[in-house]
């Protein structure tokens, strides 16, 4: 900061203005009146404390600061009200104690505080801004005498920039003011002052540092990491309990999910009717479907069949499902299993039911996915397919036969 260093002779200086020093506030006021009368424009008075009656003497017009503050206050009120109404009543309305979503009384405190906050900030920052602060390189500081302005001396300063300024004339004028102690010039460097290299380096460093965080973020976003993300406060994100299908280290198969003990019967799983649930009658496979047969069930059977069975066995049951076809294309080993050949036709329904439930050879069990009723529906549909695939002309009603010709 320039004023911190006493003016250095080698750097060429030019006069920036003149200072007149006084030691009483009253004389300063009188002097101010005369300077104003002399028609100077860019001049000022300086004092260690606000001097009574200097404003009229210098003809300072009242500042606009109060109006700025009024504006800010109004803004504060509006911001507060809109914020509280929008957040609590519009954006995320919640039923809290059955109270109305927006009611003025509850919102007055915050409104008031924001009114004050906005106004105060404006008053503070506004005052600095209007005063042109901070301003460290004021040439007026170049005169060491001026340092007493914050202690016990009063000054009039006239800037060289003033059209009426002439060094000699102005000096004479100032000396003619009564009560004046000394008149001295203050200087500014001819060329704009050189900023020392240290400042440059520091600035450059700061800029580089500032670049780091965004770069890191960009990097993190661009790259992938196998590690789970960092988690400082676990809070309730991972809880000491086992959700379904999670791993538990204490069991050899490491499933927290356990299979029931063989032979136990869960509530609602009595499944007393052996024919319905096992497809068995004593030791024999049941030969007739133990559920009543109707179109609805047949439809259901078709639907389930096409979901679970058709991929391998084919829509027509001839074992030409999409899996089979793909296996053939890729020449992979595949046993094509038809559901409509003689072997299958001869199977008792109970056995088909049992195969759906437990699987067979390479066929996986569908007991878990397909509940018994649906299994029987599928069995029904398979039976229908067998009938259809092995149908003869006799099976077609008379009146329709000619259509087939």
């Amino acid at each position: 900061m320039n004023h911190d260093r006493p003016s250095v002779p080698e750097t060429p200086q030019v006069v920036a203005g003149l200072l007149a020093e006084f030691d009483r506030p009253e004389t300063l006021v009188a002097a101010a009146a005369r300077v104003k009368a002399a028609g100077y424009r860019t001049w000022d008075c300086h004092s260690p404390f606000p001097v009574h009656g200097i404003d009229p003497a210098m003809g300072i017009r009242p500042t606009i600061l109060p109006w700025l503050v009024v504006g800010a206050g109004t803004a504060g009120v509006l911001v507060a009200l809109v914020m509280q109404w929008w957040t609590n009543a519009v954006d995320y309305p919640l039923n809290i104690s059955g109270k109305p979503l927006f009611s003025l009384p509850a919102n007055i405190p915050v409104t008031f505080e924001l009114l004050i906050l906005f106004s105060a900030l404006t008053a503070f920052l506004g005052a600095l801004a209007l005063n042109g602060l901070p301003f460290f390189s004021n040439p007026i500081f170049s005169n060491p005498r001026f340092r007493r302005v914050t202690n016990d001396r009063f000054f009039v300063s006239i800037s060289a920039a003033d059209p009426a300024f002439g060094e000699e004339a102005t000096r004479a004028f100032l000396q003619s003011l009564d009560g004046v102690a000394v008149v001295e010039p203050f200087h500014r460097p001819a060329a704009p002052p050189k900023i020392p290299a240290a400042f440059h380096i520091a600035g450059a460093l700061a800029v580089c540092m500032a670049c780091f965080p965004p770069l890191l973020i960009a990097y993190a976003r661009a790259t992938k990491s196998a590690k789970p993300r960092i988690h400082v406060w676990p809070d309730m994100d991972s809880q000491a309990k086992y959700q379904t299908q999670t791993a538990h280290p204490l069991f050899p198969d490491r499933r927290s999910m356990r299979a029931g003990v063989p032979g136990t019967v869960a509530v609602g799983r009595l499944n007393a009717d052996e024919r319905l649930y096992e497809g068995k009658d004593g030791e024999q496979w049941v030969t007739s479907v133990p559920v009543e047969i109707d179109a609805e069930r047949m439809r259901r059977g078709k639907e389930r069949y096409e979901i679970y069975c058709a991929p391998c066995h084919g829509l027509s049951g001839e074992g030409d499902g999409i899996m089979a076809q793909r296996a053939l294309e890729r020449e992979e080993p595949w046993v094509r299993r038809s559901l409509v050949d003689d072997y299958a036709v001869k199977l008792p329904v109970g056995s088909i039911f049992n195969t759906i439930r437990h699987g067979k050879n390479t066929m996986l069990p569908y007991g878990a996915q397909v509940p018994p009723a649906d299994r029987w529906a599928i069995v029904l549909y398979v039976k229908a397919l067998q009938r259809a695939q092995n149908a003869t002309i006799d099976d077609v009603p008379e009146e329709l036969r000619d259509k087939l010709q």
Binding site: P48, P50, M58, T63, L65, S137
Partner: protein, 466 residues
């Protein structure tokens, strides 16, 4: 401290014909500057200061250590329990916030009332305010169960799409206290700018010059600057005055808005504000009496200043006492079983001793200030002020812990015992307060130089008032 200085030229007289000066010892501008700056510019530090600083700094460290322990362990390290879910931390919070009221009040309200005697003490009081508010601000922050989520109190857009609940007095608190901290800080700093410039211009070493210069913002006391400066100062004062009143009212809402018997009281806002001013002034006196002796400010901060403050203490003490009475009457008059019990229990229950202490310190002891002798004798006022602070702490303790420990269902009445951490944090907060205060005394202008000068006798008699 010797009373000779005061005897020498006493300005505590109330003779209307003879205007008593606000500064003694025939002060000139230069002498005022000298007196105030000498403290900040002294080479090295006095032994007393170093010892005091060592002690308070240690306590501060202990304070932050215990906060760390709290955060890693859980709020269970305090004595809080069911049903006393709030205890020491909130008591401390309200206590410090209360203390924090004197400064802005002196600066703002006395300024608006053109009480010129404020000029010697306002800087001091404002500083105290800032530090007290800092102490106060810490407690609600660490009081929540999940400190690391305390920022959820702020209304910011978040991925949870959730907003805070503006019906909650706690949220009002957040706004009130943060606003208050901001405004009083600005008020303090703005007032200090010209004096920082003074220090800048007197500075001997480049470091001091640079630092003070940095904060002085290049102030050069021009009449135009002074003009806007005074206007801004007036505006801030005008804004701060209602703010002071609002802050403690909002704090009192934390209790008044709830339905705990003993909290649910309409007189809480004025009652709390009066109490805050009361404790604040007491704290100023507590600090001022030794400070003016140690730092040789007796001629600027005269006995008259102290006496005026003591008068305010006496007044507020009466208000507080009146509030205590009203509470009891209303609880009886309400006819509600629970209200009646709450106050009967407050006075005669397990915490009755606390209530007694509170009445003694806040209502009875300050009555000494009816006597001029007590108002003007520093050591007496010091004792009274300290007792008032003790009393005010217990007032909050009795209100908060007393009411919570016995509310509606006797089955869930509880018993509160503070833990070592509770006590450590209470003491620690004082440590922080005094640490900051000692630093302030050592490095910043303790008295508003630029504000004292206009009221000096040497300035035009027109400006001289009492």
């Amino acid at each position: 401290m010797s009373d000779l200085a005061i005897r020498a030229d006493d300005n505590t007289g109330n003779d209307p014909l003879r205007r008593a000066p606000l500064a003694l010892g025939g002060q000139t501008y230069a002498s005022v500057t000298e007196t105030v700056c000498a403290v900040a510019e002294r080479e090295g530090t006095t032994r007393a200061w170093r010892i005091a600083f060592a002690v308070s700094a240690t306590l501060t460290l202990a304070f932050f250590a215990s906060i760390g322990y709290l955060i890693v362990t859980g709020v269970g390290v305090w004595g809080n329990t069911n049903p006393v879910y709030w205890a020491f931390p909130i008591v401390n919070f309200v206590f410090w916030i209360g203390i924090g009221h004197a400064g802005t009040l002196i600066s703002a309200i006395l300024f608006l009332f053109r009480q010129k005697w404020r000029t010697s003490i306002n800087r001091f009081a404002e500083a105290m305010t800032i530090f007290a508010v800092m102490c106060a601000g810490i407690f609600p922050g660490i009081h929540v169960g999940r400190v690391w989520l305390a920022y959820w109190l702020a209304p910011y857009p978040n991925q949870m799409l959730l907003w805070p609940n503006f019906r909650s007095p706690l949220l009002w608190d957040v706004f009130a206290v943060s606003t208050y901290a901001t405004v009083s800080a600005m008020f303090w700093y703005l007032g200090m700018v010209p004096d920082l410039a003074t220090l800048r211009d007197r500075a001997k070493t480049p470091i001091r010059r640079t630092l003070y210069g940095l904060f002085a913002l290049g102030w050069h006391g021009s009449a135009r600057q002074w003009h806007r400066y005074e206007r801004a100062y007036l505006l801030l004062a005008a804004l701060a005055a209602p703010l002071v009143l609002s802050v403690h009212s909002v704090v009192s809402f934390d209790f008044a808005v709830s339905q705990v018997p003993g909290w649910h009281t309409t007189i809480f806002p004025p009652y709390f504000v009066a109490g805050a001013i009361f404790s604040g002034f007491a704290m100023v006196v507590t600090l001022m009496v030794p400070a003016r002796a140690f730092f040789g400010l007796k001629n600027l901060v005269t006995v008259r200043h102290l006496e005026n403050m003591n008068k305010i203490i006496l007044l507020t003490s009466l208000i507080v006492g009146y509030a205590y009475g009203t509470e009891l009457f209303i609880s009886w008059y309400s006819g509600s079983t629970y209200e009646r019990f709450a106050f009967f229990n407050r006075a005669f229950g397990p915490l009755g001793w606390g209530y007694g202490l509170m009445v003694l310190c806040n209502v009875l002891v300050p009555q000494l200030f009816w006597f001029k002798k007590c108002r003007t004798t520093p050591w007496i006022m010091l004792v009274v002020a300290v007792l008032v602070n003790v009393g005010m702490w217990f007032e909050r303790f009795v209100i908060i812990v007393g009411s919570l420990s016995r509310d509606y269902l006797p089955s869930s009445w509880g018993h509160y015992v503070p833990t070592a951490i509770d006590l450590l944090m209470l003491v620690g907060s004082f440590g922080l307060f005094f640490t900051l205060f000692l630093l302030f005394c050592r490095y910043l202008p303790m008295v508003a130089i630029a504000e004292v000068k206009p009221v000096l006798p040497v300035t035009k008699p027109a400006d001289e008032t009492a």
